[in-house]
Symmetry: none
Subunit: 212 residues, 4 copies
Amino acid sequence: MTEKPLSRRQREMLRYRQEVLQAALQLFSARGYDRVSMRQIAEKAEFSVGTLYNLFKNKEDIYRAIIVEVADRFETAARGALQGSGNPLERIRAFIAACARVVEENSPAIRLYLSLTRGMAFHFKAGFDEEVQERDRRILQLLASVLEEGGRAGLLRYDLHPDHLALALDGLLGAFLLRCMEEGAGCRPEIYSAVVEEVFLKGALAVDPSKA
Amino acid sequence: MTEKPLSRRQREMLRYRQEVLQAALQLFSARGYDRVSMRQIAEKAEFSVGTLYNLFKNKEDIYRAIIVEVADRFETAARGALQGSGNPLERIRAFIAACARVVEENSPAIRLYLSLTRGMAFHFKAGFDEEVQERDRRILQLLASVLEEGGRAGLLRYDLHPDHLALALDGLLGAFLLRCMEEGAGCRPEIYSAVVEEVFLKGALAVDPSKA
Amino acid sequence: MTEKPLSRRQREMLRYRQEVLQAALQLFSARGYDRVSMRQIAEKAEFSVGTLYNLFKNKEDIYRAIIVEVADRFETAARGALQGSGNPLERIRAFIAACARVVEENSPAIRLYLSLTRGMAFHFKAGFDEEVQERDRRILQLLASVLEEGGRAGLLRYDLHPDHLALALDGLLGAFLLRCMEEGAGCRPEIYSAVVEEVFLKGALAVDPSKA
Amino acid sequence: MTEKPLSRRQREMLRYRQEVLQAALQLFSARGYDRVSMRQIAEKAEFSVGTLYNLFKNKEDIYRAIIVEVADRFETAARGALQGSGNPLERIRAFIAACARVVEENSPAIRLYLSLTRGMAFHFKAGFDEEVQERDRRILQLLASVLEEGGRAGLLRYDLHPDHLALALDGLLGAFLLRCMEEGAGCRPEIYSAVVEEVFLKGALAVDPSKA
DNA sequence: TATGAATGAGACTTCATTCAT
DNA sequence: AATGAATGAAGTCTCATTCAT
């Protein structure tokens, strides 16, 4: 697991890639993938077009890098919460909080991510968009399994299919987090995640108060 | 409000417009606005490109017509339910059912609509996308006002801000309806809307059972 | 075999295609395929770049059309001579004359054709260059079979392999015809073809004078 | 004419140049000048792009060096044969053999050379391609003068213009030698040059058997 | 001296839109 | 009114060449 020390060249390249991704992210997030040209990305990142192609295979590769990064971050956070310690109820709470945190830290990238996992997906040749959707689906299944476990433990109601409960929580989270991002300045994920907890846990899951 | 009777020519033109919209809808829904060319729309609709420009001002106008149509339909259905008869609780139930019905009937168009109202929006010059978002927001406010009314009437819990509750319901609905559309064959909005009711009403709203 | 009468539109398109081919031919012949841009062809043909793409699938398609045309013309002329009437000797003479005639009439196109069948070939994706080479090879085999027939008939010497004789004649012809084209103004294929006849028939074939 | 002894550095540089030329030759021969990038040459030669530019002025200069080298080799061999000892007939035979030998030893380079001297030439800015063609023409004239000398000596027929005979021999040679290179595995210049001798000498030149 | 990242001109191609027929 | 050929701006990507390290 020890990382080889990177040469100065390599470190520079990584930094440049981050700068390009930063610029591309803002543009994609504001105008959509197809409405942003390589020249625009180059200008915003203050590189030449040719340099973009030294750093990335092509335009799609830039997009992929952005999405994969946020997908990794999200997956890590989600798995950390859902597979962490504590009873299912606590893990659900941790999951809600983790999602809010990821959104707070990666606001613009999350918009792209959500546009690929919910609703309209572009259709890329490499099909990496479907890979991302597949990864997202696995998180949802993990969430469902934790809900089911909670049901068996008597912590959560079990009269609804765990898949449906997972989808409900996911929908609630998505709606609130998107709302957070819309409001420009006053983005308060911690408030919204409290509401999600309230609505979802007190309601949908009908927690047995003697156990919670 | 009386409509002038349309000439044969005008009726024909309306029918042609519908055929073009039908073709464009399928293409946009499958590949996304920017990945579809006017020539492709013309071929699918079995018109010439020139005729498309006689029927619509430009490509964006075709898109707008699709979106406005589904937005109208959705708004009509939503207002009909939320401003209809019955107590707030019954109106919420009617709203959920109405949403499910609209989705069932306009499945592909709804995908485009949702991509414009949640998550990523293209940015069109004419700014009609923001108009649509504004209309959507007004529905949400109407929903919130009904929820508030229900709270004042003691039918629904009032410890959460009605805007948040509205957003929660909206998010739940969106998630389930999108899921309906994904599953290709087995699209069952009536099942999903039952789940939404269950999750939202029994849970989030903590209906006073003596009154419901 | 009756041809449908072409619409005015179709006739116009064919004429336009010919104009483009004419322009492209001159440019390709002077500078080589890879040194000529679509913009240059468009300018020389006095069309816009877009129109070029309405008339031809892509740049390679323009090249292909030029080559295929001259290849067809050459093949027709060659087969007509070699499979025509007369004894093998007369057919060889007709072949030599036919080649000279084709070159005389299609001088610039022949240069492209020869660059594809002898010497350096570009490598096109569609592999049509190999098709053209294959067609050329078949003509050579046909020529060889006529030479062999002449040998069996006692008209031509048979101590050399017919394939080699065919190649010899082909090489002679190629060298003289290329020379014709080089000299700009004074291109005299009829003189050169006389020399080829003289050199090849009197010499290589050692015609039995009593039979010729 | 005495060469200064080269420094180690200079000798090294010459060796590097040869390695680059070797790599470039293979690529140019396989794909054509315009389809090969400097980066590809650099990779095949296992140098950096920058080093290529230290060794050669530019891409064209690499091409020129390849061509000039084979042109020199060919010219040396041809002059050696044609200006050597023996009667004209023997010198022609030596010339044919020399050509076969050069081809055998420089097969890929010859393809490039022939594409520049027969048929299609690229048009380089510096016009060195025309220089090469000029040099080639001088060899042809030298060949013609030997043929003429043979004619005057009664060894060779003189009813045809020596230039035409020279061209005929050149065309025969070119055709057979190109054929040798095409056949991949079984390349037998010595066989083909025998055929050329047979066809050309026995036939075209109608050697007076009493003198040969 | 050797390297290879940076550059930007220029290549091919697509496409929304217009307009003569 | 209906057509679809013509247009040229704009997009993605490549590549010869330079130059800081």
